[in-house]
C-alpha cells in the first residue's frame, strides 16, 4: 500500500501490526458486514499515522476489498492519509493530531458505562503521544471514573519522528506513571501474539480500573532494513525496497540483504 501511494508511515505501521492483528482477529467483537452494529466493540487508532496497518486488518476482515488498499492516500479514496470517518464511516474517530484519541475512546467508554453496555473500547496509542498533555488529562479522567471497559495498548517502539524517544523526551518510568493515574498496567512483548492475547484476556478480568498494555515493539518490525531505522518513520519505501520488504515478510530476506550490502538503504535518526 505504502509503496503504491508513495508516501506514508511504514515504521509505526509495522510496529503495531501484531497488536492490530490480535485486536481484529481475536479480541474484538465486530461485524465487517454490519460496521454500525450497536453492540460492536470500538477501536480508536489514536496514532493515526499508523492507519495502513488498520486498513490492512479491515480489508482482510472484509470491510472492503483488498484491492482498495492500493488507493491509500489517493484522491477520493476512503483510505485517507490519516483516519477520517467522513470517508470511512466504519472508523470511530478522526485522528492524526496526536494525543487526542485516548480522550475520544474514553468518551465512548464513558457512554458505555452510563448505558451499562458490556462493550469493550480499545485505543491504540503511540509512545510519543505520552508527551502530549491531553493523554494525561484522559488518563486521569478514565482512572478516576474507573472506566474498566477501556483497554489502551501503547505501541512502545521507542522512536518518534525526529529520533529516539530517550533523547527527545524520555518517558520513563512509564509504567509507574500510568499506575499512578490509577490504571491497571501490564507489559508485553508487542510482537508475541500469545503474550498480547494473555494481556488482553487478563485486562478483562480486572475490574474498577482502565487498562494499559505497554507493548514493547520494534519500529519497522519484520523488514530488517526498516527495523529501528527511523528513516522509515514517515517515508514510504521505493519500488525496489518494497519488493525486498514484501519478499522478506514472506520469509525470504535475500533481496533485503542485497540492498543493504549495496549500500542502498538510507538511515535515519538514532
Amino acid at each position: 500500500m505504502l509503496g503504491a501511494s508513495g508516501s506514508g508511515h511504514p515504521g509505526g505501521s509495522l510496529s503495531a501490526a501484531d497488536i492490530v492483528t490480535c485486536l481484529y482477529f481475536h479480541a474484538m467483537r465486530h461485524d465487517p458486514r454490519n460496521p454500525q452494529w450497536e453492540d460492536r466493540d470500538r477501536f480508536v487508532l489514536s496514532k493515526g499515522h499508523g492507519c495502513p496497518v488498520l486498513y490492512a486488518a479491515m480489508a482482510i476482515s472484509g470491510y472492503f476489498p483488498k484491492e482498495q488498499l492500493a488507493t491509500l492516500r489517493k484522491l477520493g479514496s476512503p483510505l485517507q492519509g490519516h483516519p477520517d470517518t467522513r470517508f470511512m464511516p466504519a472508523l470511530e474517530a478522526c485522528t492524526g493530531s496526536l494525543g487526542q484519541g485516548l480522550s475520544i475512546a474514553t468518551g465512548i467508554a464513558l457512554a458505555a458505562q452510563m448505558d451499562k453496555k458490556d462493550r469493550w473500547v480499545y485505543a491504540l496509542i503511540s509512545d510519543s503521544e505520552n508527551e502530549e498533555g491531553q493523554t494525561w488529562e484522559a488518563a486521569g479522567f478514565a482512572g478516576f471514573h474507573q472506566l474498566d471497559r477501556l483497554i489502551a495498548v501503547l505501541d512502545y517502539n521507542k522512536f518518534q519522528l525526529d529520533g529516539a524517544i530517550k533523547d527527545i523526551l524520555d518517558l520513563e518510568p512509564l509504567r509507574s506513571k500510568w499506575e499512578s493515574f490509577r490504571w491497571h498496567v501490564q507489559e508485553a512483548d508487542g510482537h508475541s501474539i500469545p503474550e498480547l492475547l494473555a494481556a488482553l484476556d487478563k485486562a478483562k478480568q480486572v475490574k474498577g480500573q482502565p487498562h494499559m498494555i505497554i507493548a514493547h515493539t520494534v519500529k519497522g518490525k519484520g523488514v530488517s532494513f526498516m527495523e529501528n531505522n527511523n528513516y522509515f518513520h514517515g517515508v514510504a519505501p521505493t519500488q525496489e525496497e518494497m519488493q525486498a520488504a514484501l519478499k522478506e515478510i514472506d520469509g525470504d530476506p535475500s533481496l533485503s540483504r542485497a540492498l543493504v550490502a549495496a549500500g542502498k538503504i538510507k538511515k535515519g535518526g538514532k
Partner: protein, 319 residues
C-alpha cells in the same frame, strides 16, 4: 446611556442557557453535559443538580473535555459542553476541529464569558476571537444570542439540530430586546426596527445598543433599521440584502474583534451580492483589560453612542 430608550433588564444569557439546559434534560435523556470546573459560572450547575448521572465535571482539562464529547457523540449521546469561550474555543481549538468538526459530531458547544463585558477578570478571560475561529470551522452553526428569550430558544433548537453548534453567552445581565412571543430560528435574522437610511446589524449585547442608537438617530432625522443577527453562520443573506437594498448603508455591531466576526461575515456577503458603504463597531484589533463591564464597553467603543456615530459616518458616505 442614550436617553429615550427604556432599558428592561433580563437574565444574563448564561443564566438563560442554564435554565434551558435543565429543561432539555427533562425531555431528552440523550443529553449529557460536560463542564471544566466552571459550572457555577456557565450555569450548567442547574443541570448538574437535577441530573447528576448525566453531568461530568472533567476538571480543568479542556482538551480532554472536548475529546470526551466527541467520543460521547460517537456513542450516540448529545453532549452539551461548557466553559468560558476562551478556554474551550481558543485553548481546545484543535480538539474541536478533530473530535467534533471534521467528523461532524453532534456536539453542542455553549460557552459563557464571551466578549469584554466579562469585566474585572481582564483579558485572559475575555474572548474576542471565538466567533472568528468558530465561523472558520466547517460545519458549525455559530450563534451569539442577544437576550434570555433568544438564548432559550436557540439552546433548545440546538438539541434538535443534527451536527455541531456553537452558542456564545455572556456574563452580565442582558437587556431584553425580544419578548416571549418572538420566533427564533438558526440562520434567520430578526428585523427589530424598520428604517430607511441605514441598517444596524448587531448581535449579543450590542443589539440593545443598536436599538438605543436608532432612537437617538431618529431625533437627528436619521431613520435606522435594526436587525438582530443572532446567527453569524449560516448568515441570513436574504434579509441582509433586502436591508442593504432598502437602506443603502450598513453598520455592524458586536462584542468581538472586528476581524472575523459578524462584521466580516456581513461585509463578505454584501461585497459578493450587493456592496453598500459599511462601518464596523467592534473591538479594534486589541485585547481589553480589567474594569467594570460598562466602563470597558465605553472605552472599547461598544455603546449606543458609538453605534450612532458609526451610523452617521456611513450615512454621509452614501452616494
Amino acid at each position: 446611556m442614550i436617553v429615550g430608550m427604556e432599558k428592561k433588564m433580563g437574565l444574563a444569557t448564561r443564566d438563560a442557557y442554564g435554565q434551558a439546559l435543565a429543561e432539555l434534560g427533562r425531555v431528552n435523556p440523550k443529553i449529557v453535559v460536560l463542564d471544566g470546573d466552571l459550572s457555577a459560572s456557565t450555569k450548567t450547575n442547574l443541570f448538574a443538580r437535577e441530573f447528576p448521572d448525566r453531568f461530568f465535571n472533567v476538571g480543568v482539562a479542556e482538551a480532554n473535555l472536548v475529546g470526551l464529547a466527541g467520543g460521547l457523540a460517537q456513542a450516540g449521546k448529545i453532549p452539551f459542553i461548557s466553559s468560558f469561550a476562551c478556554f474551550i474555543v481558543c485553548r481546545a481549538y484543535d480538539q474541536l476541529r478533530m473530535a467534533v468538526a471534521v467528523p461532524h459530531q453532534n456536539v453542542k458547544v455553549v460557552t459563557s464569558h464571551g466578549g469584554i463585558s466579562v469585566g474585572e477578570d481582564g483579558a485572559s478571560q475575555q474572548s474576542i476571537e471565538d466567533v472568528a475561529l468558530m465561523t472558520a470551522t466547517p460545519g458549525f452553526i455559530v450563534a451569539v444570542p442577544s437576550d434570555e428569550h433568544c438564548t432559550r430558544a436557540l439552546v433548545k433548537q440546538a438539541a434538535d439540530v443534527k451536527g455541531p453548534v456553537y452558542i456564545r453567552t455572556g456574563r452580565p445581565k442582558a437587556p431584553l430586546v425580544h419578548d416571549v412571543s418572538t420566533k427564533f430560528s438558526f440562520g434567520k435574522g430578526i428585523l427589530l426596527r424598520q428604517g430607511k437610511d441605514v441598517t444596524i446589524v448587531a448581535n449579543g449585547l450590542l443589539v440593545f445598543e443598536a436599538l438605543a442608537a436608532a432612537e437617538a438617530l431618529a431625533e437627528q432625522g436619521i431613520s435606522a433599521a435594526v436587525v438582530d443577527m443572532h446567527t453569524v453562520k449560516p448568515l441570513d443573506e436574504e434579509l441582509l440584502i433586502q436591508q442593504a437594498k432598502s437602506t443603502g448603508a450598513v453598520v455592524t455591531a458586536e462584542e468581538h474583534s472586528v476581524w472575523g466576526g459578524l462584521g466580516s461575515a456581513v461585509s463578505s456577503a454584501l461585497s459578493r451580492k450587493d456592496p453598500v458603504p459599511m462601518e464596523f463597531v467592534g473591538i479594534q484589533d486589541t485585547y481589553a483589560e480589567s474594569g467594570k463591564p460598562e466602563e470597558l464597553l465605553e472605552k472599547y467603543g461598544l455603546t449606543a453612542r458609538h453605534v450612532a456615530q458609526a451610523a452617521e459616518r456611513v450615512v454621509k458616505r452614501k452616494r
